[in-house]
Symmetry: C2
Subunit: 308 residues, 2 copies
């Protein structure tokens, strides 16, 4: 099952040419989940050939402009492009007011059902679940109410060893039982153990999105053992005072988060516009946690054991 | 005196890669005036090296997203980049509510004075004037309240013929009087006519911005004799029904507007995403009004007699 993330933007608040504000798209089993939607996200989607028609879920972490100003444009364009299927939108409660006032004055009535689910910045909560994934909010510590998001794959059923099943002429109707772990009794009465006919499905993977936040251990337990941890790393550690003042994290601290929460891989982003080159940020984080990569626009990262 | 317009975007509502929504910057005597501010305008400004610090006036035609969704990002970035001087913003009255609600929830207090001046979509009005220019609103006919904007240069004082003034040793203190048309009396009592010492300043030019609107002659008188008329031309004329339904103009009609209002030059824009090539739109408009150009992103058009 596909489980990967494509970065559409990983810049922080002030703009810089060719670095866009936060937005990323998760592909989970060929369904797309958009996480944050900074200004210009719909253009980034066109650039990187991400089809908005495949997005049914959008998650907004908080109401600083660099994380949501592309949302109105995107959901308007979905409307103008003829969307009729529902769209689920998760985010801070006032987001609905911000959307409604703009649609009111532009005299827009969407042709599809925009289902808004407010997030609670104070307590972790499961906010969404389907056959592929469970999504939890992560209460972060920023200047305004902010949540991260944790995407945990669901454990899949066991996988049938096709050659064995066919050799035994196991009826296809029996396959769902096999996948659930049942044994198989052949016509001659012989019983085959399930473990001879199936293999376990892959270990479910976990993706964690933490942006924006000051370094604060209160969310560490919840995000432990991420297969891929995306964490903001706005500044180098020599600007720790500025990071603290603005409730952001340094690259060194992001490495610490990954180390202490036993992440398998770390992806850093939300880079300050002051850094023309990002190598120092990468080196600093790697000094603490080797398995780190930069979140680079247009790059896709597979979420799994051997990701980086 | 410089009087020119740089196109930052001339696409219509649905996005297309490499064509941005409406935004343009007027340079009038080295002061920048931003007209409309679609999503991504601040990135376009970076791309084309338009300094936001030189913008003190922003004009928003109406509250469809493709004309204002870049505004919050831009005025936030001005704030983050340390702006302290005031910014005048002209637009439909509800725009202030849209801005305030977003700043409320992002907990933003601007470090500079954002002076909002609401426009009236029902009557033409002078909304701004300084030593260089007078700006009027143009009531247009769109689905929601919309105004165009007319920028009329002010007549400058007469220009002194420097060689003559120096040959006669005219004191510099007398120059302001000369510029205003006064004669000069030399020490020997000889009187020099002003017209011998000065020449008339250039004819003031006029730029008209009409986007978005259905073809409607009610604004023709006001925009007559524009040196450069920017007019939307969303569709080819074979989609006249669609143009009428959505309250837009066809390229053929845009040519008609220029012809009937005796514009000197026509710049067409607000192109529908359906047109991959814009040549047909240009050809159609030129079939009616030869002196037409496409509004192409990144291009700068001088507003004057020999513009196109």
């Amino acid at each position: 099952m596909k489980f990967e993330v494509t970065i559409l933007g990983s810049s922080s608040a002030t703009p810089i040419f060719n670095r866009n504000p936060t937005a990323q798209v998760l592909n989970i089993n060929e369904h797309l989940y958009l996480v944050d939607c900074g200004e210009g996200t719909q253009v980034q989607m066109l650039k990187y050939e991400i089809k908005s028609s495949k997005i049914d879920h959008i998650f907004i972490s908080h109401l600083h402009g660099d994380h949501y100003l592309g949302l109105i444009g995107l959901i308007s364009s979905m409307h103008l492009n003829g969307r009729t299927k529902p769209l689920k939108l998760f985010g801070p409660a006032p987001l609905l007011e911000i959307i409604n006032i703009q649609f009111k004055y532009s005299d827009t009535t969407l042709h599809y059902d925009l289902q808004f689910i407010p997030t609670n910045p104070d307590e972790p909560a499961v906010i969404y679940e389907n056959q592929d994934v469970i999504v939890e909010t992560i209460p972060l510590d920023h200047r305004i109410a902010t949540t991260g998001f944790l995407f945990r794959q669901k454990k899949r059923l066991r996988k049938i060893i096709k050659e064995k099943a066919e050799a035994l002429n196991i009826p296809i109707e029996h396959y769902p039982l096999l996948k659930k772990g049942a044994p198989f009794t052949a016509a001659d009465g012989k019983v085959y153990k399930n473990t001879d006919l199936t293999v376990d499905s892959d270990r479910p993977k976990c993706y964690v999105f933490c942006s924006d936040t000051i370094y604060n251990e209160r969310y560490f337990e919840q995000i432990a053992n991420a297969d891929l941890l995306y964490h903001e790393a706005t500044f180098l550690h020599n600007l720790l005072d500025r990071a603290n003042k603005t409730h952001h994290t340094t690259a060194w601290q992001a490495g610490q988060v990954a180390l202490q929460t036993q992440a398998k891989s770390l992806l850093i982003g939300h880079f300050s516009a002051r850094y023309k080159s990002l190598n120092e940020l990468l080196d600093e984080a790697r000094g603490v946690f080797q398995n780190t990569e930069l979140a680079i626009e247009g790059n896709t990262y597979t979420i799994g054991d051997d990701m980086v």
